[in-house]
């Protein structure tokens, strides 16, 4: 049995027991899924601070949706559908990213991390996006600039920024559909 099949079986069993009220299995499942989500997002977005927010959002969503999991169906499609959806939701809400740069700046001052741009640029999602979308998403969603500030910086109109954000998020959704997980 491969590692993926093992995970599938184990998560499915834990979730089935959790649906019957088994707290221990549920805690183990959420811990493991939390790590999987973090790894999944790390490989796609790089080490940006939205990941922890995203992991917790996903865990809450999994908790809210646990009654919809059918043990007869595969766990992974159910699980990753929730993760993708919550990630995109979080990516859309710029508010969630406001603290990202502040936290990162503090750590940079402490000398614990490399420049954020280098690490993020190497990430799967941002490296696969067209430069026009990548720049706009980085400026508005990671750095936390407003639409008008990003427009000024890039020398384009605000409506172009909005269109690029929309299209960039659409592209991101497609990239996230690749369900390869590295743990």
């Amino acid at each position: 049995m491969t590692r993926l099949e093992n995970d599938e079986l184990r998560w499915s069993q834990w979730m089935t027991q959790a649906q019957q009220g088994d707290e221990q299995c549920y805690a183990k499942l959420l811990e493991e899924l939390g790590d999987v989500i973090a790894a999944f997002l790390n490989t796609r977005f790089g080490p940006i601070y939205l990941i922890e927010d995203c992991v917790q959002e996903c865990l809450i969503a999994i908790h809210s949706a646990r009654h919809t999991y059918d043990p007869k169906r595969l766990f992974r499609p159910w699980f990753f559908a929730i993760v993708r959806n919550r990630t995109i939701d979080l990516l859309r809400s710029q508010r969630s990213y406001k603290s990202v740069l502040e936290q990162h700046t503090l750590k940079q001052i402490a000398g614990t991390v490399t420049p954020i741009e280098d690490e993020i640029n190497k990430s799967m999602v941002f490296s696969m996006l067209a430069p026009a979308y990548r720049d706009v998403l980085l400026l508005t969603k990671v750095v936390g600039l407003s639409t008008s500030e990003a427009a000024k910086k890039l020398g384009i109109s605000e409506s172009s920024v909005r269109v690029r954000i929309h299209r960039g998020i659409k592209e991101t959704r497609k990239i996230l559909k690749i369900e390869q997980v590295e743990r």
């Binding site: 959790a18 649906q19 019957q20 009220g21 088994d22 707290e23 221990q24 549920y26 805690a27 959420l30 811990e31 939390g34 790590d35 922890e52 992991v55 917790q56 865990l59 809450i60 969503a61 908790h63 809210s64 949706a65 646990r66 009654h67 919809t68 999991y69 059918d70 169906r73 499609p77 159910w78 699980f79 990753f80 559908a81 929730i82 959806n85």
Partner: protein, 220 residues
């Protein structure tokens, strides 16, 4: 592991209540479809008779029968994809594409019918308030359908609202085939037209319910 995550998992898994399964879509979807039809037929017959010879046309006129069959299949397909939305990861893109394709085919039937109608257009059987009746027949089933879907966990509440709106909007549009006058132009404007409004109402439901995604009680 992040400290907050440990706390979150702790709070989510403490006092864990057994979950009420809502992982099946076939039975609720089928029941919704059947009961919606019963509602439409009963109320429609209560408010007025069927058009003379309409039932007979279903068996003697292939084009008319085809139009009706395509409408029924289209409504059923949209019902299926609407209920699929209630379970994460269950959506099938081929089914969504097929549903739209069949719906377009249905509309195409009437568009072609403008030049080559299945039955000679006439005002026989005209219902005085067929547009209002269309709303009356579709909005309550749509609302109930949406609530059923929402009891699952629709990741995209807007899409769920649109799909159930289309399915519910098609119910009266199809039944009016045999209960109101036959004229492709009248069908497009008075029977299928209201479906657009119903879809819009479904969209509004999706927006309203999106803001009310359940937050686990343990986190309050």
């Amino acid at each position: 592991m992040h400290r907050n995550r440990i706390d979150l998992i702790q709070s989510l898994s403490t006092n864990l209540a057994p979950a009420n399964h809502r992982s099946h879509i076939f039975l609720p979807g089928l029941l919704w479809f059947i009961f919606s039809w019963i509602y439409v037929v009963t109320l429609s017959l209560f408010l007025g008779p069927l058009r003379d010879g309409a039932l007979n046309s279903l068996f003697t006129n292939p084009q008319f029968a085809f139009e009706s069959l395509i409408g029924l299949i289209s409504g059923a397909l949209f019902c299926a994809i609407a209920f699929q939305e209630s379970i994460p990861g269950l959506q099938r893109h081929w089914l969504i594409r097929l549903s739209y394709l069949i719906a377009l085919l249905w509309i195409a039937c009437y568009t072609i019918g403008l030049s080559f109608p299945a039955i000679d257009p006439s005002r026989v059987g005209k219902r005085a308030h067929c547009v209002l009746e269309a709303y009356l027949y579709s909005v309550p089933p749509m609302t109930i359908g949406y609530i059923l879907i929402y009891r699952g966990f629709p990741l995209n509440t807007l899409r769920a609202g649109i799909y159930i709106g289309i399915s519910a909007g098609m119910l009266p549009a199809l039944f009016m085939q045999i209960s109101c006058m036959y004229d492709p132009l009248h069908i497009l404007t008075h029977h299928l037209g209201p479906a657009l409004v119903v879809i819009f109402i479904g969209l509004i439901l999706g927006i309203v319910f999106k803001k009310q995604k359940p937050i686990p009680e343990s986190l309050h």
